[in-house]
């Protein structure tokens, strides 16, 4: 958008050279931690429901908000259901929905953003205006309206999350891409007569992948949180199953007594999102090195 009114041609006093990277401290430790946390949750998402010791909706204990015990390692929830089973069952929805929605939102947003930066001005303007319109509607409001109008289903939840978070990805990618198009090597590629898609893929994407991925990691976190907010509004995954955010929400009454039922899913969300982001950080760092 910034480029819509400013010329892309610009002189650079820098020598034309492929950006070299300085050697940095190995990120193996971080990558290892990230990969194992994220891998753990992927495994839970796949096998969790099979491992759950109790049915997800069954009232197994007489006690609500019971602490950890041999029978219920993560205690019981606000109705007296086994928390371990509920987390094992619910993780699939959080991981699955958020992962798919974040990947879709970021890839759609980023591709459109890059193409808009390279597109003719009128197209860029149109897409950007539509995008601005979408972005300025608060996401929870959009979610409320979407679900009230179309009913709650898993595909709809994903569509809502993508509609809420793709515009942000678009804006950031477009801004990054627009900055890059003014750089020497892109100008050179243009004068070489390369096509737009080639420039986008070979010249722009590798050089903006780090912030785009970091942004996707954040979007993943936000979508996890959006899902919990939607369950709060009576939308979201259908009971008795609850995604991790909803597990926190429905047990919030136990917070004052320090109930495991609210701490356990919160820790689950924390480890999942931190794991995913550490992994993305380390991947994008190595990707950057390969891209040279």
């Amino acid at each position: 958008m910034s480029q819509a009114n400013s010329p892309r041609a610009a002189g650079s006093q820098l020598p034309v050279a492929s950006p070299s990277r300085r050697n940095r401290a190995p990120r193996h430790a971080m990558r290892w931690i990230g990969a194992s946390l994220f891998g753990f949750w992927i495994l839970v998402a796949i096998f969790g429901p099979m491992l759950a010791p109790h049915p997800v909706g069954a009232l197994v204990g007489d006690d609500m908000f019971a602490g950890a015990s041999a029978a219920f390692p993560l205690g019981t929830d606000y109705l007296g259901r086994d928390m371990l089973s509920r987390i094992l069952t619910g993780a699939r929805y959080t991981v699955g929905l958020a992962l798919i929605a974040a990947l879709l939102a970021s890839s759609i947003g980023a591709s459109l953003g890059i193409l808009a930066a390279l597109a003719p001005k009128w197209l860029d303007e149109t897409v950007s205006r539509l995008n601005d319109a979408l972005i300025s509607i608060p996401s929870k409001m959009l979610a409320l309206v979407m679900v009230s109008a179309f009913g709650a289903s898993i595909p709809l939840l994903i569509i809502t999350a993508v509609l809420s978070y793709a515009p942000g990805a678009f804006r950031i990618s477009r801004s990054l891409a627009a900055n890059l198009t003014t750089l020497e090597y892109v100008q050179v590629a243009r004068t070489r007569g390369e096509g737009r898609l080639y420039i986008a893929w070979a010249e722009l994407l590798p050089n903006m992948i780090h912030p785009v991925l970091a942004d996707m990691g954040m979007r993943f976190v936000f979508i996890v949180l959006l899902l919990s907010g939607m369950s709060f509004l009576g939308l979201g995954v259908q009971p008795p199953i609850a995604d991790l955010g909803s597990l926190v929400r429905e047990n919030i009454g136990g917070l004052s007594e320090g109930a495991l039922a609210v701490i356990a899913p919160a820790v689950a969300i924390g480890t999942l999102t931190i794991g995913a982001n550490l992994l993305i950080d380390s991947l994008s760092a190595s990707r950057g090195q390969q891209g040279d």
Binding site: M1, S2, Q3, A4, N5, S6, P7, G11, L14, P19, S20, R21, R24, A25, M30, R129, L130, D132, A133, I135, S136, I137, P138, S139, K140, M141, L142, L144, V145, M146, S148, A149, F150, R171, I172, S175, L176, A178, N179, T182, N207, H210, P211, A214, D215, M218, V221, L225, G229, R249, I252, L255, S256, V262, A266, I269, G270, T273, I274, L278
Partner: protein, 317 residues
């Protein structure tokens, strides 16, 4: 340099009007998909069909939807935001009561979060891969990974219920001095900062690192420019575009997206006004809120783009 900026602003003004028009159409389209209308919402669970019909006529809801939209649009152009159907007050009165609160909360949160986020991002970028970077990375991630309502509730339990230092609710009406002000805003601002700082700090770090990897920074390093100067004088100006955009995006959240904070602290802001309006199918109020959020967002992105242009000589010409 005056000229291009003036041209930019004029261009943006024109495209902003277009964006607002698109938003109003989108809002109009999705709210007309909503089941039920204002008459049913006003009369509630136990309304009779005759009553609903009568109220619809009275409120003008029996006119075709498009006609109502154009009437609203004509009103808007002439500066009339219309009437709220749910309580017969002018929309402008309802908004005027809430907007200052929202702006104050957004302003205070911005003033606190942006400097902290930039500082954290710059420190992380300078110490990339080092211990500080990793600690900050995990710290910002943990902050953002905790649901907002959990942060707010924990804060209330600790500071209001157990320690009794801060009020559990944010009563704007009881502000008399700067002490009151700080006590009232401490917890809402803290909660919002947890969400915003992480995102802005991480984008700042990412954008800076991209620049730090560029050849011209390598050149500067070879010329013996120190790390702080490299970051602040060379890398930062070039990455201001993406950073300003990330900041603008985060801040636009502060008007319409703070519904959870407004609910938990009972803060009378504009986000809860719009949620009410949607629930009441109060179309004029929904549209007015949407126009406001969109305008605020547009102002923020124009500011972000101005930042980018002013800081990047190559974009200026």
């Amino acid at each position: 340099m005056r000229n291009p900026i003036l041209r930019l602003l004029l261009g943006r003004l024109a495209s902003g009007v277009l964006t607002l028009l698109i938003v109003s159409l989108v809002i109009f389209a999705i709210t007309s998909l909503l089941p039920g209308d204002a008459a049913q919402q006003i009369l509630g669970q136990f309304a009779t069909p005759e009553q609903v019909a009568a109220l619809r006529t009275q409120l003008g809801l029996d006119q075709p939807a498009l006609l109502r939209y154009f009437n609203w649009l004509i009103g808007l152009v002439s500066g009339d935001l219309g009437q709220s159907v749910s309580n017969a007050l002018p929309v402008s009165t309802l908004m005027a009561g809430r907007l200052p609160n929202s702006l104050i909360l957004a302003g205070v949160t911005t003033a606190v979060s942006v400097p902290i986020a930039l500082a954290l991002g710059i420190i992380s970028a300078m110490r990339r891969g080092g211990a500080i970077d990793r600690v900050l990375n995990v710290f910002t991630l943990s902050m953002v990974a905790v649901p907002e309502f959990l942060v707010a509730t924990i804060a209330v339990l600790i500071f209001a219920v157990h320690l009794g230092w801060l009020p559990a609710l944010s009563y704007v009406s009881s502000v008399e001095n700067i002490g009151d002000f700080m006590r009232i805003y401490a917890m809402p601002v803290l909660t919002l900062c947890c969400v915003l700082i992480a995102q802005m700090a991480r984008m700042t770090r990412a954008a800076l690192i991209d620049q730090l990897d560029s050849p011209y920074i390598e050149m500067a390093q070879l010329k013996g420019v120190g790390p702080l100067r490299r970051v602040l004088r060379h890398a930062l100006p070039n990455s201001l575009g993406p950073i300003a955009n990330a900041v603008a995006l985060s801040l636009s959240y502060l008007l319409g997206g703070v519904i959870i904070v407004e609910t938990i602290f009972n803060y009378p802001g504009i986000a809860s006004l719009m949620v009410d309006a949607v629930a009441n199918r109060d179309l004029a109020l929904v549209q007015a809120c949407a126009m406001l959020f969109c305008s605020a967002y547009l102002v923020l992105v124009i500011a972000a783009d101005l930042c980018a242009i002013l800081s990047n000589p190559r974009l200026r010409t």
